[in-house]
């Protein structure tokens, strides 16, 4: 709850309305959740037009842990992670049934403002997508549009903190005014992480954040994720088994839109209960 209150303080008054309303409901629904759970998906179904992409999913995301969603291409991993902060809302013919509760509040209910939801649930994408402006401005972007800082000094502090958190500060502190696109791919991706962190989300969604990076940068991003786990809840989609095994606390294996197996790491890698999971882990399934 600390985090939520802190969050509310940062919000401008008129914007915090929806969250306050959510707050009242929290106590009643919270009782159904185990204390460490932040997100609970129940009977989640997602359709794009006629195609049934996610089938009756039940999954919980634990606080300050890394939950890895893995599975072969086209199994619905990205769709799943994108439903967690309503990035799919604008997708044509997107339809969702069931419930996704964040701290007990259904994020698809009418009371929740999808824009404010994204302040609490940040996202980093597969391909680094910095804005074609300076490094500083990239990080300051979120805080600026949400008016999270009162003055320049405060903004400088936010930017520095976010860059430090994303392990990029040392590399860019002397050239904050340089264009973000002058950074290497790995740096760009960490910049995108810093940009997402700057609005101080509680949950960070990472959709294959290292798949477009070289091995060195990948290792850095992985270290970073483990580091971030101290303060944030992370959900990671990845193709990379080794990466999953390195960082995961909990692993969910998704196949053809259904959740096949959920387990703690490294159990699921050592003793998969289902044949299909074993096939995937051993590389017989792609």
């Amino acid at each position: 709850m600390d985090l939520m209150e802190a969050q509310q303080e940062r919000m401008s008054k008129e914007k915090s309305e929806t969250l306050e309303r959510s707050d009242e409901n929290t106590s009643s629904i919270n009782s159904q959740m185990s204390p460490g759970d932040r997100i609970r998906m129940s009977s989640l179904n997602v359709y794009y037009g006629n195609s049934h992409v996610l089938k009756d999913l039940n999954l919980t995301i634990e606080d300050r842990k890394i939950t890895v969603i893995m599975g072969p291409s086209g199994c619905g991993k990205s769709t799943l992670i994108r439903t967690l902060n309503r990035m799919n809302d604008t997708v044509h013919a997107f339809k969702l049934t069931g419930e996704i509760a964040l701290d007990g509040i259904n994020i698809y209910s009418k009371e929740v403002n999808p824009t404010l939801l994204k302040l609490r649930v940040g996202m980093v994408f597969q391909k680094p997508n910095p804005f074609p402006i300076s490094i500083y401005d990239n990080v300051a972007f979120g805080p600026k549009i949400h008016k999270l800082s009162k003055n320049r000094a405060e903004m400088d502090e936010i930017v520095m903190q976010a860059l430090k958190q994303a392990a990029l500060w040392e590399e860019v502190k002397d050239r904050l005014k340089a264009n973000a696109l002058s950074l290497s791919g790995g740096q760009q991706q960490r910049l995108c992480i810093a940009r997402a962190l700057a609005v101080r989300p509680e949950i960070l969604l990472l959709d294959e954040p290292a798949s477009a990076l070289d091995p060195g940068s990948t290792a850095k991003v992985q270290e970073l994720m483990v580091e971030l786990k101290k303060d944030l809840t992370l959900v990671l989609v990845t193709h990379n088994m080794q990466q999953a095994a390195t960082v995961a606390n909990k692993v969910a294996f998704l196949y053809n839109g259904s959740l096949v197996e959920v387990g703690q790491s490294p159990d699921i890698f050592e003793n998969p209960q289902k044949k299909v999971t074993e096939d995937y882990i051993s590389g017989r399934l792609t």
Binding site: M87, T115, L116, F125, N129, F131, I145
Partner: protein, 365 residues
């Protein structure tokens, strides 16, 4: 006989120099193409290995060669056409060039009776009406483009209908716009905009003078309408080309739709949008018929929106049939040359600006 022989010799000599130019151009083109095919910039090393540019070995198949020659010919033809056109423009205006020199561009007198010709009022009229057209037309065009590319779904019926209507606007012949401007728009603008503005704000130089309806403002409005299809269609394509990842970055930061458009889509697309606007300006500068019909055709340097004016294009269209002596014809051809130079300057300026924008915003892609 002697005369004609001299003439043909002259033509021969002149056409020789464009030929040379074109050969140089082709050589350069081949050189450039070879290197870009190999994915490399011409470097000292490459030059050392291949001393003289030549057709590379792997295009030795006959079909390839024919295709190459045909396309090269087409490209070359356009270059040659332009060179010849400029040459003709300069040759055609030799009388006024000799008589008035550079003063032609800065003189404000255009008097066929006393045989004094200056292009300044027409340059002014062209720029003035074009700027009015941009001020009115660009916001509307961008609005249309943003609506079509960002607000409504690409597949929706309304979107398709609207974009085809915008396309239809481009298909309306210029003279039809002129007629409509003359009989409908001009009185309307005079009664509902110009008269009230003149009555209340007549003290400003912009609104000075008795409004007649056939003036810079009406011409500018007609031009604005005529550039909307160009600017909005191209802007829409430019906006649609903005990568989804840029929008998603903004949305994932909790940006609203408007914030996404304003901070993410528009900045990313700005060099393309600028290009669209310049194409619109190009159209406005060269537009002839509709403007001629509503601008009042009076060579003036007035800053008042309500003063009749004249543009480069419309003076050519209007007075070519009246040009009864060689100096007059020469003056009109030089007006054409001026129009060409003006378009060239706008293009160069635009390219420089786009280049600067691109350089500052896309260091690495």
């Amino acid at each position: 006989m002697n005369q004609s022989g001299k003439h043909s010799l002259r033509v021969g000599r002149i056409s020789h120099s464009p030929t040379l130019l074109c050969i140089v151009a082709i050589t350069k083109f081949i050189e450039w193409e070879r290197f870009s095919l190999a994915g490399k910039e011409p470097s000292a090393e490459n030059n050392a290995v291949v001393p003289a540019p030549q057709f590379s070995a792997r295009t030795s198949k006959l079909g390839d060669r024919i295709f190459r020659v045909l396309t090269l010919g087409a490209a070359f033809f356009v270059v040659a056409l332009l060179v010849l056109l400029v040459y003709e423009l300069i040759k055609g205006s030799d009388l006024t060039l000799a008589k008035f020199g550079v003063g032609f561009f800065s003189s404000k007198t255009w008097d066929p009776v006393t045989q004094i010709f200056g292009a300044l009022p027409f340059i002014w009229g062209t720029l003035y009406t074009s700027v009015i057209a941009l001020i009115i037309g660009v916001p509307i065009s961008l609005g249309v483009a943003i609506f079509l590319s960002e607000i409504i779904s690409r597949t929706s019926r309304i979107g398709e209908l609207l974009s085809s209507i915008v396309g239809l606007l481009a298909a309306v012949p210029s003279v039809v716009f002129g007629l409509w401007g003359l009989f409908v728009l001009s009185p309307f603008v005079r009664d509902y905009f110009e008269v009230p503005l003149h009555v209340h704000l007549g003290a400003f130089p912009l609104f000075k003078g008795e409004p007649f309806g056939l003036d810079f403002l009406t011409a500018g409005i007609i031009l604005a309408i005529m550039i909307i299809p160009t600017v909005s269609t191209i802007s829409m394509e430019v906006l649609r080309a903005v990568p989804r990842s840029q929008r998603e970055a903004m949305i994932s930061l909790g940006g609203t739709r408007w914030e996404t458009i304003r901070h993410s889509v528009l900045p990313y697309a700005r060099s393309g949008l600028f290009g669209a606007i310049i194409l619109g300006l190009g159209r406005a500068v060269g537009e002839t018929m509709a403007v001629t019909m509503v601008i009042g055709n009076d060579p003036s340097l007035s800053t008042s929106l309500f003063h009749p004016g004249y543009t480069l294009a419309s003076v050519i269209a209007n007075e070519f049939t009246e040009a009864t002596y060689p100096l007059y014809v020469s003056a009109l051809v030089e007006i054409g040359l001026t129009l060409f130079i003006l378009a060239l300057i706008i293009n160069i300026f635009a390219r420089l600006l786009i280049w600067r924008i691109t350089k500052s915003s896309r260091v690495r892609t």
